[in-house]
């Protein structure tokens, strides 16, 4: 009986950890989903999350409020998203070049401004107390806890997370609903596949794409804020560590759909959570797993996913092609 409850506690801990680790991925993945479904390729998810992480940490430190931090993070991310949108939509520039520029800009600006403001090598001072989101206990958590399987799942995994986690999960459901069942979602999907048709119907292609890009910015803002304000209690240089690109791979894996995207990101999060436990552990046969092998796993998995070994993925038809009205 003891080992059973030990195993279930361990499982609950790993699952809770997996959920928390996957939140930035989910947010970035949804951001990429909104952008790419409307036809704007977004390589700059990494940069937007990074600038949001910095802005939110700085604002949260200055005002001792996590919510103001969230607002600042979202604003910074939307500003960068609009920059990308301007280059991609209005100026019809190369969207991949623009994304790379956003990433580099974010990395450089956070370092320069971070160093100028705080002088700690680009970090923000650590955040404490009300400057971080508090864990929310969902209603009925303590009551349900004793129920066999669902109990610990609800009480330990789902409940007791900070607000951005729930925001992100709600965003998944909203994205799926809006995309599939509203007029806006239909037009958005149309603009990503046949913008000419949308134009003929009299709806502005550019405005729709800008809206999608703004939503993408908001989502990256939530993801970046969660990273610095919730998960790490402060901004660290280059703290996104490739999560934006892993999110892109998860998006392709999920075939640009919301619920599969959640699943893919949870999978990556689970991998991350398990890897933290596996560090230094000895597998049967006395093979010690090197730390670097575990560190390399998310990036390796991304490459394997992209190589299509887990099924071919076809992007929205007009993805990456600037829309020219006259042609």
């Amino acid at each position: 009986m003891d080992t059973l409850s030990d195993v279930s506690t361990l499982t609950a801990v790993i699952l809770a950890s997996a959920l928390r680790l996957s939140v930035p991925l989910i947010a970035a993945c949804l951001a990429g989903l909104w952008s790419e479904r409307s036809g704007v390729v977004d390589i700059g998810l990494e940069g937007k999350m990074l600038i949001a992480a910095f802005a939110s940490a700085a604002a949260a430190y200055a005002t001792h409020s996590a919510w103001i931090g969230l607002g600042a993070g979202i604003l910074a991310s939307v500003a960068f998203a609009l920059l990308h949108g301007f280059a991609a939509i209005s100026q019809r520039g190369n969207q991949i070049v623009s994304g790379v520029a956003i990433n580099l800009l974010a990395a450089g600006l956070t370092a320069v401004i971070g160093n100028a403001w705080y002088g700690q090598g680009g970090r923000t001072p650590p955040l404490e107390g009300p400057a971080r989101f508090q864990d929310l206990v969902l209603p009925g958590a303590t009551v349900i806890k004793s129920v066999p399987v669902i109990g610990p799942l609800y009480a330990d995994v789902l409940s007791g997370n900070p607000v951005p986690v729930y925001l992100t999960l709600i965003a998944v459901a909203l994205t799926s609903f809006v995309m599939a069942r509203t007029r806006f979602g239909l037009r958005l999907r149309a603009v990503g596949n046949y913008p000419g048709a949308v134009d003929t119907a009299g709806v502005s292609v550019a405005l729709l794409r800008y809206r999608a890009v703004i939503i993408s910015g908001v989502l990256c803002g939530i993801g970046g804020t969660y990273l610095s304000v919730s998960q790490a209690a402060g901004f660290l240089p280059l703290m996104t560590a490739g999560k934006g690109f892993i999110a892109l791979a998860a998006l392709i894996f999920a075939h640009w759909r919301a619920w599969p995207a959640l699943g893919a990101c949870l999978l990556f999060g689970l991998l991350d959570a398990v890897s933290i436990r596996l560090q230094g552990a000895v597998l049967p046969g006395s093979i010690s797993v090197p730390v670097q092998a575990i560190q390399a796993l998310p990036y390796l998995m991304t490459v394997i996913l992209l190589a299509g070994f887990v099924g071919r993925a076809i992007p929205p038809r007009a993805s990456g092609i600037p829309y020219v009205k006259e042609r």
């Binding site: 991609a88 520029a101 580099l104 600006l109 190589a307």
Partner: protein
């Protein structure tokens, strides 16, 4: 609004990137002002620090060497329509290759070891570029994302190797032992002194002339050879390439391998020339600035060399600047690089339209 604009060739290649560069520096000036420093003062220190002394020029050229190699790598890939962001990882693997040869063969005379080490660096870099190229050609995985992943993988691999396999037991830091004297690329100031000229000691070494040679080689390849023509065709229109009997897949893989081997030149400069042992993070961001260099130089070797010289000035001047004004760090160069990539790359159309407005009517079609 969307009529294609035909600018005269000199405007397209020279004026538009120049305008974009000026605009990028203006934006950078704004950033400098926003952190409370004076851009004019910063510019003065920058120019003095990079070109005002023989030592400064030596350092500038040394940094420029890295940017030339990285810029050439990205430029060659551009011609095939590929975006190689993996120059950092390819350079890291190049360093690994050079170190493996240098560590095992440095008992051989210099004129044997050095070419072998350079070839090994090029081969390892080519491999790290080839794999994403293969995945793009055969499996359709976007080369941008795979090369970024390979950057991370290269960094992790080298940490593992330096900590567990190749590390120097006498040193606490993850690095190899110093290579034997036969496996050093000679410093230019040492060569000059041997010839009786007095030059201040700088990290400038033989890889600078090697970089210029590589630029010439790339020009020959891209603009004067059949393979170069095939590469440019694939970049312009893969369908036309197929019609012409060229295989876009083969060219993609070949170009990425070539790109990787050029990026490895960075490692030749740093590992064989300056550091003389393998250590972590010797690529320190040169690969990403290489993208800006290639875009600024319009992917033409001459443009790449000029842009690399400019960034070399920024790096050296930036180092001097951060002595006097610690608030402005080297990361300013990353900001300038990012803005340049945005202006010279994605917002290209905006600047072309601006230049077309200013030029007299008869020059613009």
């Amino acid at each position: 609004m969307s009529t294609p604009i035909d600018l005269p060739r000199w405007a397209d290649i020279g004026l538009v990137p120049a305008v974009a560069t000026v605009a990028a520096f203006l934006v950078a000036g704004l950033v400098v002002m926003s952190i409370g420093e004076s851009p004019l003062e910063a510019t003065r220190i920058l120019i003095e620090g990079s070109l005002g002394s023989a030592e400064g020029i030596g350092f500038t050229l040394y940094y420029a060497t890295n940017f030339i190699f990285a810029g050439l790598a990205v430029a060659v890939a551009f011609h095939a329509g590929l975006f190689n962001i993996g120059a950092e990882g390819q350079a890291t693997l190049g360093g690994l290759g050079a170190a493996l040869v240098a560590l095992s063969l440095d008992w051989l005379p210099g004129f044997v070891v050095l070419p072998l080490a350079i070839l090994a660096a090029a081969a390892f870099g080519a491999l790290w570029g080839f794999i994403p190229g293969y995945l793009q050609a055969k499996r359709g995985s976007h080369v941008v994302i795979t090369t970024i992943m390979f950057n991370f993988l290269a960094a992790i691999l080298i940490v593992y190797l330096l900590v567990n396999v190749m590390g120097n037991p006498k040193s606490m830091a993850p690095e190899t032992r110093n290579f034997g004297p036969n496996a050093h690329l000679p410093f230019i100031h040492a060569l000059a002194q041997a010839m009786g000229l007095n030059m201040p000691a700088t990290p400038l070494n033989l890889s600078f002339p090697l970089a210029l040679l590589a630029a010439f080689g790339v020009w020959l390849l891209i603009y004067r050879s059949r393979l170069g023509y095939a590469i440019r065709t694939v970049g312009a229109s893969p369908a036309a390439a197929v019609y012409a009997g060229v295989s876009p897949e083969r060219i993609t893989m070949l170009t990425m391998a070539l790109s990787g081997s050029l990026a490895a030149g960075l490692a030749v400069n740093e590992v064989l020339g300056v550091q003389q042992h393998l250590l972590l993070e010797f690529t320190s961001g040169y690969g990403f600035v290489g993208i800006a260099v290639a875009l600024m130089g319009r992917a033409h070797p001459v443009g790449v060399v000029l842009a690399a010289l400019l960034f070399g000035m920024l790096y050296q001047g930036g180092a001097e600047l951060s002595f006097d004004h610690p608030a402005i760090t080297r990361d300013m160069v990353t900001v300038i690089g990012g803005v340049l990539i945005l202006f010279a790359g994605a917002l290209d159309g905006l600047f072309r339209r601006a230049v077309a407005l200013v030029l007299p009517r008869r020059l613009v079609a």
